[in-house]
Symmetry: D2
Subunit: 176 residues, 4 copies
C-alpha cells in the first residue's frame, strides 16, 4: 500500500497481475501507485499505464524507478484519482493499490474500465468497502485472501516467516 | 522454541493443550520447557508436571515464573531429556516444545506415555522428523498447521499481522 | 456456526475458550449454540452455562448432546437472544457462535458481561460488524484470524487440507 | 499434482511463473505437466516449452488443450523425465509440478538450467526432499508457502473458502 507500507510483495503482485489479465495494446491505470512497482510491471504487458498518487514523494520515487528500469510507457499523475480518472478516457484494466476515496474511485472505474478492476487491501474496512461497493455496482467477481510465508534459515533448519496477508478484490464488467 | 524463540503463542498453546487432553490426576512432561508457559498452564489441569530443559537459564526463568504464579506442582529438571525421561515413570501426556534429539525423545515417550504426545515445530525439518518418527513408531495421529494473524490498528482501520506459523504434531498410543 | 455449518472446529473452540478465560464459578452464555459443542465444553470450566438458539432443532440436538455427556449445568433457551439475554442477570463471559442481530446482542452483552465476549465469524460482514460494534461500545480487544490445516494421507505422503478460516473477535469491559 | 490433483490453481501458477522469471527466447521444461496448464501459460512467455509426463492420458489431454489454445511451441514427451531430460540440451527455466524421482530430476536440472527451477509441492515429504536436495546441490533460493482462500457467497454474506496450501520451492544457479 504505497510508500507507507512499502512496495507490493512479489507474490501479491503476481496474483494481482494475473487477475488483471492485461493484454498487448491495453491501457491500464494504477490508482495509488506508491513506489511504482506494479505500474512498471504492468507496463511490460500493456500499451500504456497511467500511474496516479496524491503524494508528490511517491510520484517522484516511482518516476525515478521507471526511468531506471528504462520504462517509457508509464505516465505519472500527482493528485486525487477522483479528479484525474475522468480525463483518462476508456481503460482496459485498473489496479487500485490504495485510495482514501475507494467507493468513488470504484464508481468511476466501473464506468470506464472494459476489463478487470483489482483492488489490494490490507485493512478489513477496505475489504468490506471494496466488496460492498462492487456488489452494489454489480461488478463483483471474487475476493482472494493471500497468505504468503517465506522460508528463513534458523539454527540448523528452515522455518517459514509470514508476510502480511492481503485481500485481492476483483471486479469487472461482464465478468462472472 | 523455548527462550530463543520466546514463549509459545497463546493460540498455539490453547490448541496444543486441547490436543493433549489432560485430565485431573494426570502426570505430564514438558520437554524443552523454555519459559515454562506451557508447563504452568498444564499444571492447572494436571496432578503433576515435569518440566525439562537443558539450559540453566530456561530452568531458572521457568521456576521463577511458576513461583510467581503460585504453582507448586511443577518439578523442574535441568538436563538432557533423553537421560531424564527414563527416571520419571509412567506418564499420561507429553508436550515437546523443543528438543535436539527429537527421534530419541519420541522413542522414549512412545514407551511411557499412556495418552497424547504433542510436538510443536516451526522448522520443516522438525515437522518431517516428528511425523516420520511417529509413523515409524505407529503412534502418529495428525499434524495441524496453525496460522494465526492478529488485528492491529493502522491509520483509520484494522489490519491483520501474522505470527509465525506452527506445526502441531499429535501422537498417541491407541489413538486413531 | 450452528447446525447449518456443523460444529465449531476443535482448534477454533480451543482458542475461543482460551480467549474467554472462564474461571470456576463463572456464569457463561452461549448465543447461537448450534450443536451445543461449545456450551458443553464451557460447562466443564464454568458454574453455569446458558445456551440460546432460535432453532428448535438446535436446542433439541444440543440438549441431547449435553445429556449424553452427563452435563447438568447447561440451561437451554429456544428463542431470540435479544429477548432472552435481559432475563439472565449478570454474566461473566459470553460466546457468540452466531446471531442474526449481532449489534443488538453485543449491545446487551456489553452491559451485563463482566469478563470477555468472544464472537466467531466466518463472513466478512460479521467480522466487520463485530469489530465496528465493539469499537463503538469501547470494548474491542482484538480480532484473530485462525487458519487451520490438518494433515491427510495421500499416495505415499502427507499433505495439509485446510478447514474454513474463522475470525475470533474478542471484546470485554476493562480489558486491554 | 497433475491429472490426479486437478490443474494447478491460478494463484499458484501466477506466483510460480513469476518466480521462474521466463524471458522471450527462453527454453523451458515442465516436468510432470499434467493437464498442461502451466506449460501452455509458459509458452506465451517462452520461445519453446518441453512438457513431460509419464502418463499417456496426461500427454493426450495436455496436447489437446494446447491445440485448442492455438499453442504451437510446446513439445510433449510421454515418459520418465530422468530419461528424457538429458536429450533436451541446455534450458533456461524448469517447472516441476510433480515427479516420483524428484532428487534425480533436480540433479539433472541443476546441471542444465541456466535460470530458475521451481517445484510445486503439496506433500511435506516433497517439500523436505526438494529443499534438502537443492541445499545439497547448492542451488536453494527460497521456499514459499502459499495459502489462498477465495470468497464464496453464503446466506446473506461473503465467506472465504481455502484451497489446498502449496509449497513453491525455488532454486537456481547463481541465484541468491
Amino acid at each position: 500500500m504505497g510508500l507507507k507500507g512499502g512496495p507490493t510483495q512479489d507474490e501479491v503482485m503476481a496474483v494481482s497481475l494475473a487477475k488483471l489479465g492485461i493484454r498487448p495494446g491495453d491501457r491500464v491505470v494504477d490508482v495509488g501507485c506508491g513506489t511504482g512497482k506494479v505500474a512498471i510491471a504492468a507496463s511490460r504487458l500493456a500499451e500504456r499505464v497511467y500511474a496516479i498518487d496524491r503524494r508528490a514523494e511517491a510520484i517522484a520515487y516511482a518516476r525515478a524507478q521507471a526511468a531506471a528500469a528504462g520504462v517509457s510507457n508509464v505516465e505519472f499523475f500527482e493528485g486525487d484519482a477522483v479528479e484525474i480518472l475522468p480525463d483518462l478516457g476508456p481503460l482496459d484494466a485498473a489496479f487500485v493499490g490504495g485510495s482514501r476515496r475507494l467507493p468513488e474511485v470504484l464508481d468511476l472505474l466501473a464506468g470506464t474500465v472494459q476489463g478487470r478492476i483489482v483492488v489490494n487491501a490490507v485493512m478489513i474496512e477496505t475489504l468490506h468497502s471494496a466488496v460492498a461497493t462492487m456488489q452494489r455496482l454489480g461488478i463483483f467477481v471474487e475476493a482472494v485472501h493471500l497468505q504468503v510465508s517465506r522460508s528463513a534459515d534458523i539454527a540448523g533448519g528452515t522455518m517459514f516467516k509470514p508476510v502480511n496477508p492481503v485481500y485481492i478484490i476483483v471486479g469487472g464488467a461482464g465478468c462472472s
